[in-house]
């Protein structure tokens, strides 16, 4: 059986390669499929043929031409160095509580002072950054993967299944994110892996809608039709044809998802529903810092907040720039 399918599918694969890099975007179907919602940022296509050069190279070039993108990427690289290499250079004790040196202001030996438990704040910022960034990345990526598959499957299945799957998304969307997040956190009192799942459960809805919108127009294209005629399975259509073609939308959305996940984690920590202090996070540091502002320990309030804002701004910059450069690739010239 597999052999019978093999031949035509190979043929379909060839067709797909043609379809993946259309010589002129104008050839690609401009109209959305009937019933498609104009959700996708790439829904509007047009313009003449591109100059020579690989798609990837053009995207990278126009991405790097964007000052915001370079700034965002620069901040992210510096933050990664700070959090992951920093602790090996700037050695501090982040394991044992030391009440003798608690709540010290910024001095030569503790550049950003110490917190209520005697931890050096600069060193704590590095360690906490590791888990904040890791959880943000993991939750953002998990949400993107699940949302993409959900949206693509829904669009390809079509009809009644699509309607049901999308009404479920509508229903979850109508519960305000923080309400759902707090409810889930209260029910599950999450540990680290569960926290990633809970946060991504809040944020997969956006990519699901976006990818479905785009997949609705993709599934009517000739190369997808060719796969169907050639006997390709739905699974193959989703994984090999629809998903790779929505990668631009997904990348843009993922960087926003990561930014949002970092903010959601911080909000949960502030509300006392985050991870225990044994896993330091920026949100946790902020939450501890807010408890002592009336004592005048301002240095416990600002560092973690600045770190969160920097990280979130950087991911938002990268997302914006990615969207622009993918748009430019389709519109300019």
């Amino acid at each position: 059986m597999a052999d019978v399918v093999q031949g035509p599918e190979e043929g379909a694969e060839e067709l797909d390669k043609e379809g993946l890099f259309p010589a002129a975007p104008a050839v690609a179907s401009r109209a959305l499929a009937p019933g498609a919602e104009p959700l996708s940022p790439q829904g509007v296509e047009g313009g003449a043929a591109r100059p020579t050069g690989s798609m990837l190279r053009l995207t990278v070039v126009s991405f790097l031409e964007n000052k915001l993108a370079v700034a965002g990427l620069g901040i992210l690289v510096l933050l990664a160095l700070f959090c992951f290499v920093g602790p090996h250079v700037y050695l501090t004790n982040q394991k044992t509580v030391n009440p003798v040196i608690n709540n010290l202001g910024p001095t030569g030996s503790h550049l950003l002072g110490t917190d209520g438990e005697g931890f050096d704040i600069l060193g704590r910022l590095m360690v906490a950054g590791q888990s904040s960034i890791e959880i943000g990345l993991a939750a953002g990526l998990l949400a993107a993967v699940f949302g993409t598959l959900y949206g693509a499957v829904s669009a390809v299945a079509g009809g009644f299944v699509d309607a049901i799957m999308m009404r479920i998304v509508d229903a979850l969307f109508s519960v305000p994110a923080l309400f759902l997040l707090i409810l889930l956190a209260a029910i599950f009192s999450p540990n680290l892996p569960l926290m990633i799942v809970v946060i991504s459960f809040i944020s997969w809805l956006g990519p699901a809608r976006l990818v479905r919108g785009e997949a609705l127009s993709l599934r009517t294209r000739e190369y997808v039709q060719a796969v169907k005629v050639a006997g390709g399975t739905q699974r193959r259509i989703v994984l090999r044809h629809i998903v790779p073609n929505t990668i631009g939308t997904i990348m843009v959305n993922t960087s926003f998802l990561i930014a949002d996940s970092i903010l959601l984690l911080a909000a949960l920590s502030y509300l006392g529903l985050g991870l225990p202090d044994t896993t330091p996070t920026w949100g946790g540091m902020l939450s501890n810092g807010t408890e002592v502002i009336f004592d005048g320990y301002w240095w416990q309030l600002y560092p973690a907040g600045v770190a969160i804002v920097l990280t979130v701004v950087a991911f938002n910059f990268v997302g914006d720039a990615l969207r622009d450069s993918l748009d430019v690739r389709l519109r300019r010239r």
Binding site: S174, P176, F179, A185, A266, A267, I293
Partner: protein, 314 residues
């Protein structure tokens, strides 16, 4: 038009029904079993049995769901064993305070964002546009609670010009007499909205200014001021009107944070306190109410869009 409104309404009802299914599933996900989660781990077996009977938990699942819907249809959102009061009563006590906070914040945000957006559209890609764009980008990336606390640190602790706490009273007169206490909470909630509203206003205004009728108006010698306020602004406000309906979820989430930062006894603070005391019936009830608010907001936004802009037909 009426056909569209009817269809949109029916769609909202389907979504609402699905939300109740989700809440029902959450109820069954409660740690241990629902009765122990609500009544406490050490609840007497008789109390557990009574609870199960009340919720129909000894019956098949479809019947339980029917009981749940029946309760909701009669305005019964559940009973808080922690506060010894019905969830509906607790909600009714807190709701006016939250509405006051949200209305003030919405008002401030809209009044500030519209001129800011117009200004940015007119001065597009000039220095002040870049500054405002940068500022709204940074504000947008602020954790709301941190914004609130930084405002407290600056205005209440360092400068001593405003109190750090919101008015504690539940009466509206108390809020009016203690208006200084409302400044920081309203500012916190409004600032984040201003950041996103002014961005929308800017792009909506830029779209309007690129239209043919604007060029015509310019050609016949209409002044810049009249072009902006009479021709461009009115059309740019249509997306804004719907945006306000669509931003209800974000603002409700913001209200939870703001109320907990400033200790303002509204629905958001009730929600957080219930999460701390594992008062699940309040959590489930309030989440459902919030979802109803969002669905209604979306409905009004969609219908409003169709009414305000007659070109739109579905």
């Amino acid at each position: 038009m009426s056909g569209y409104i009817f269809r949109r309404f029916a769609q909202s009802l389907v979504v609402l029904l699905l939300v109740t299914v989700i809440m029902f599933i959450m109820f069954h996900l409660l740690p241990g079993n629902p009765a122990r989660a609500e009544l406490g781990v050490k609840a007497q077996p008789a109390a557990v049995a009574a609870f199960d009977k009340l919720q129909g938990l000894n019956k098949p699942v479809w019947y339980q769901f029917w009981v749940y819907l029946d309760h909701l249809a009669h305005g019964n959102l559940g009973f808080s064993y922690v506060q010894n009061s019905t969830v509906a009563q607790l909600f009714a006590q807190r709701f006016p305070k939250t509405i006051i906070l949200l209305a003030l914040a919405y008002g401030v945000a809209v009044i500030a964002a519209i001129p800011l957006g117009i200004m940015q559209a007119v001065r597009r890609n000039k220095f002040d546009d870049y500054v405002l764009t940068g500022a709204s980008f940074v504000l947008y990336s602020f954790p709301t609670f941190w914004l609130g606390i930084v405002l407290i640190e600056i205005f209440a602790i360092s400068l001593h010009v405003l109190p750090p706490n919101a008015p504690e009273t539940t009466s509206i007169g108390g809020i009016v007499s203690d208006w200084q206490g409302m400044v920081l909470p309203v500012m916190t909630l409004a600032l984040v909205s201003i950041a996103s509203y002014s961005r929308y206003m800017r792009s909506s205004m830029i779209d309007s200014l690129a239209q043919d009728y604007i060029r015509t108006a310019k050609a016949k010698g209409v002044t810049q001021r009249v072009i902006l306020l009479r021709h461009a602004l009115r059309n740019s406000l249509i997306p804004m009107a719907t945006l306000i309906g669509l931003s209800i979820p974000a603002v409700l989430s913001g209200a939870i944070i703001t109320e907990s930062v400033f200790n303002y006894p509204g629905v958001g603070l009730l929600f957080i306190q219930s999460a701390e005391s594992n008062d699940f019936s309040v959590l489930l009830g309030l989440t459902l109410v919030a979802a109803v608010g969002v669905i209604a907001g979306n409905l009004v936004a969609d219908i409003g869009y169709a009414v305000l802009d007659p070109r739109i037909r579905y």
